[in-house]
């Protein structure tokens, strides 16, 4: 349990530094896989005819799904599937991670067939006292999602809680 956690200058230097871009694919199979994982029964996420009848180009991404990062052994995280190089990291040494919260803003539909270019950056650091976890480092990361036409289609903010 961290007793004397404080935000160091070298951690602060990471805030705002954008990651190299990484490609996320949205395919009919990946949309079905995500929808199945959540437990949807809405055919719009499984059947292309149903999706088109509902006004989409193809199967739409269910809320919160922003495509599947291309997986390249050695370059991708085995655990979280995204790129290992998500910009400079914060060397805090805290072993445990919990998810604090997520917010997604949409500017357009994202559908199967889209190829997304994703960048992210740490946008905020803070320290909070947990009831059972001691001092925790809260890392807010902002992600930008641009489609194959160069249009910003979504942004996402998430809080990682390290303790």
């Amino acid at each position: 349990m961290a007793e004397h956690l404080e935000i160091r200058d070298e951690w602060r230097a990471v805030v705002g530094v954008e990651s190299p871009p990484w490609t996320h694919e949205v395919t009919t199979t990946s949309v079905r896989g995500f929808a199945r994982g959540v437990g949807y029964s809405d055919l719009v996420y499984f059947d292309e005819a149903a999706a088109k009848a509902a006004g989409y180009r193809s199967l739409p991404c269910p809320p919160s799904y922003l495509g599947t990062p291309i997986f390249i052994p050695g370059q991708s995280s085995d655990t979280f599937s995204g790129p290992k190089d998500s910009g400079p990291s914060i060397d805090h040494g805290l072993p445990n991670l919990l998810d604090g919260g997520t917010e997604t803003e949409y500017f357009d539909d994202i559908c199967a067939g889209d190829t997304l270019t994703v960048t992210s950056k740490v946008s905020d650091l803070s320290i909070r006292e947990g009831r059972s976890t001691g001092k925790m480092l809260i890392v807010t990361r902002e992600t930008k999602v641009v489609n194959q036409d160069g249009k910003l289609v979504a942004t996402q903010r998430g809080q990682g809680i390290f303790y």
Binding site: G37, V38, G39, D42, A54, S64, F80, E105
Partner: protein, 138 residues
């Protein structure tokens, strides 16, 4: 039937969605979403042992709130913003009741919008994952 702008009002409740993901469902979510943190499938992982169980992905609950809103809209409107906070852990095989209320409904610059307040109540009735969403109608 797709939801229409005129068919709901402030104060309306969304039809509730019950989720009770077991380990197999969480494995399907890990495969679909790409999050293979062992905390969500491996009971021998040190963090799981410390907690006493694997736990449901926060992101599973977030996606399930998305399903709740998507089911309500039935593609009659679009989600503009959806957010939640993971305030409490949920364990596999435990029922979660997801729901929401229309807090505000308004028109602005010719756009029709509504704001929702969302919840994921555990078996004891505690909201482990409060959320909000803004939806728009053309």
């Amino acid at each position: 039937m797709p939801l229409t702008w005129d068919s709901f009002k402030e104060g309306d409740a969304l039809p509730e969605l019950i989720k009770q993901p077991g380990v197999t469902q969480l494995v399907k979510y890990a495969a679909g979403g790409g999050d293979f943190n062992p905390l969500h499938h491996d009971f021998t992982f040190p963090q799981s042992k410390a907690i006493g169980s694997i736990i449901v992905h926060g992101r599973f609950k977030y996606a399930a709130l998305g399903e709740l809103v998507s089911n309500w809209l039935d593609h009659g409107g679009r989600i503009q913003n959806i957010a939640c906070q993971y305030r409490g852990m949920d364990l596999p095989d435990q029922p979660m009741t997801l729901g929401g209320v229309v807090k505000r409904k308004w028109e602005e610059d010719g756009e029709k919008r509504a704001e929702l307040e969302l919840y994921v109540n555990n078996a004891k009735g505690k909201n482990t994952t409060p959320g909000t969403a803004t939806v728009r109608f053309d």
